[in-house]
Symmetry: C2
Subunit: 127 residues, 2 copies
DNA sequence: CTCTGACTTGAAGCGTGGTTCAAGTCAAGG
DNA sequence: CCTTGACTTGAACCACGCTTCAAGTCAGAG
């Protein structure tokens, strides 16, 4: 029923050292110990999936810790989330342009990539 | 006609220290010197815009340096770019899910955010 | 009961991307 | 000519997110 750290590491794809690191930062907690050894409830895997995903979206470990503790009355955090959603949208736009530019770049024939107008278009400049 | 480092810094939004850092890494070069002082051609601003954008898309400084030197016969690099484009697509999907989850989270009423099914749905698990 | 080896800890180390610092140089202005 | 102050350098430092290490512990096998 309980998992030990090696099992959690394997099933989550994270290193044991990373799990201890997350614990120190308050993102996860073991269900208990067997001697010195951490034992985890299986649902820690869900939490780790969430953490990994959030990390991938550019959240810092400290931010994720806040999210995991959030309750509906934490309006500051709610606002922060709406903020993040907006920022993500900008990121998405930027990445989309970048992806298109790269697709072109992979086949473009300009001697110096930097000179290619299609490539340059990636960088919609405001100035 | 030529810009000095302070001007480039201001107009690019980057710190002078960052410009020197990029130079050391081969991303930019001054047009010359006035005494010890770097002087830049105005088009360095385009290049810096590109660099900033690429950084924002998650490229490392080392990768960007390679891009900037790329010629059409660097097929290894071309393949790498196609690769990057694919990865960006995955990133875009992930960020999109994350954005939707956050939008919901900002208004959801679950006592503990982590318990909200709509929030959890952000983390499409493969296992 | 003893051994083994996977776990435990805190501290140090690493790669990335810069910033900050001390010490020095030099173009321009008075 | 001398001062000023923005530039120059290399080296040290920072934050982040871990990983690695040395030294120690302890559950379970023999």
């Amino acid at each position: 029923m309980l998992l030990d750290i090696a099992e959690v590491a394997e099933r989550s794809g994270l290193a044991p050292s990373a799990l201890r690191f997350y614990e120190k930062r308050g993102l996860i907690a073991p269900a208990g110990r067997n001697g010195l050894r951490r034992t985890y409830q299986p649902d820690v895997l869900d939490r780790l999936a969430l953490i990994t995903c959030a990390r991938g979206a550019g959240f810092t470990v400290a931010e994720i810790a806040r999210f995991l503790l959030a309750t509906p009355d934490d309006s500051e955090l709610r606002a922060g989330m709406a903020d993040k959603a907006r920022k993500l949208e900008e990121d998405i736009d930027r990445l989309t342009r970048m992806r298109d530019g790269l697709r072109h770049a992979a086949t473009c024939t300009h001697t110096l990539l930097v000179e290619c107008p299609d490539f340059k278009q990636m960088f919609a400049r405001s100035t």
